[in-house]
């Protein structure tokens, strides 16, 4: 999955796949908090419609 989105042009660090059992509440909270922190650090997604459409129009013009 990471390699696929990387090929598509999305930073693979934006994807995280983790197995968490329904019995592992604290681990779930930890995994999510860590990922949210990481995403905040990376910044807003390039897939936001406005940003994406600008990229598309530049690509079409070139």
């Amino acid at each position: 999955m990471k390699k696929l989105i990387e090929f598509y042009g999305i930073d693979p660090e934006r994807l995280s796949l983790k197995w968490v059992s329904s019995a592992e509440g604290p681990r779930f909270a930890k995994v999510i908090t860590e990922f949210v922190d990481k995403i905040r650090e990376i910044g807003p997604s390039p897939l936001r419609p406005k940003v994406l459409m600008e990229a598309v129009s530049v690509e079409k013009a070139s």
Binding site: M1, K2, K3, L4, I5, E6, F7, Y8, G9, I10, D11, L17, K18, W19, P46, L47, L52, A55, V56, V58, E59, K60
Partner: protein, 275 residues
């Protein structure tokens, strides 16, 4: 060449080995798939898909064979016209347990011309066994490398511009010889918003790409069928590469064994769940 195929098929029909032959026919210049049941029908309209040259008209013969096998009332054996790509598709369908008893399909192979192989940059333009044609050299397709040469932002702009043209005709899915599911994720409103054109980007196309993992046999029919000329093959080709790297699985190869994504449990020995 076409005569050799005809004679071979006539022999199969006459011997009673096959109940019918799934091939192509030329009906007043229009080439369509056809189930030949009598030898005379072969004489009047049998075709190798040549409207301009051999194979100008291609069809997903493996998918048609699958429908034939699934929908016929008896358990007859049928002959099927196969090129290299059709054979790879049949092999892959077997690996996904779609064909039931594979002995019900008798392959009648034809090797493709160099022109056809070049046009589709085919990795193996001939089946393992063929009754007509000559082996020509495999061709390579560099489209994946071209995308990999771009940086992340350019890739995203490139694919977004391509997918922006999508009219969501489902042509890529419908023509795909290895798309065999009865229910399709792409039509599930809960998963991908329906009713929008172009479809939700990138969910629509990446979902299809994920489903091509361990299946796509690189026949180029999707790209050929796409009215918006989206280079879908490049995306699925990359997916196939990823599967080859991760699981050492090459799609479409002859022989036993399951696709790594069709195995429940830890069989492939891959522990990438937390990658």
């Amino acid at each position: 060449m076409i005569e050799q195929v005809k004679e071979h098929v006539k022999g199969l029909l006459a011997s009673g080995k096959i109940a019918g032959f799934l091939g192509l026919r030329n009906d007043a210049g229009v080439v369509t798939p056809f189930l030949f049941k009598q030898e005379e029908q072969l004489d009047s309209s049998f075709s190798l898909g040549e409207t301009e040259s051999q194979g100008t008209m291609r069809y997903p013969m493996a998918k048609l064979a699958l429908h034939l096998i699934q929908n016929c009332d008896d358990d007859s054996t049928y002959g099927v016209l196969v090129r290299g790509c059709d054979e790879r598709a049949l092999n892959e369908l077997k690996r996904w347990n779609q064909l039931g008893n594979p002995d019900r399909i008798v392959q009648v192979g034809v090797a493709c011309t160099l022109g056809l192989a070049e046009e589709h940059e085919c990795r193996k333009p001939f089946p393992d066994e063929f009754v007509a044609g000559e082996k020509v050299d495999p061709q390579t397709n560099n489209s994946v490398q071209q995308v990999l040469a771009k940086d992340l932002d350019s890739r995203l702009a490139f694919w977004s511009a391509e997918f922006d043209r999508c009219i969501k005709c489902y042509g890529c899915r419908n023509i795909c010889p290895v798309c065999f599911c009865n229910v399709c994720t792409l039509e599930e409103d809960a998963l991908i918003k329906t009713g929008n054109i172009p479809p939700e980007n990138p969910m629509f196309h990446l979902t299809r790409a994920v489903h091509m993992a361990g299946r796509c046999i690189d026949c180029n029919l999707c790209t050929e069928a796409c009215p918006a000329e989206i280079p879908l093959r490049t995306l699925y080709k990359r997916v196939a590469e990823i599967i080859a790297d991760e699981f050492s699985y090459v799609t479409g190869a002859t022989g036993e064994g399951k696709s790594p994504l069709n195995i429940l449990g830890s069989d492939p020995g891959h522990t990438a769940a937390n990658d």
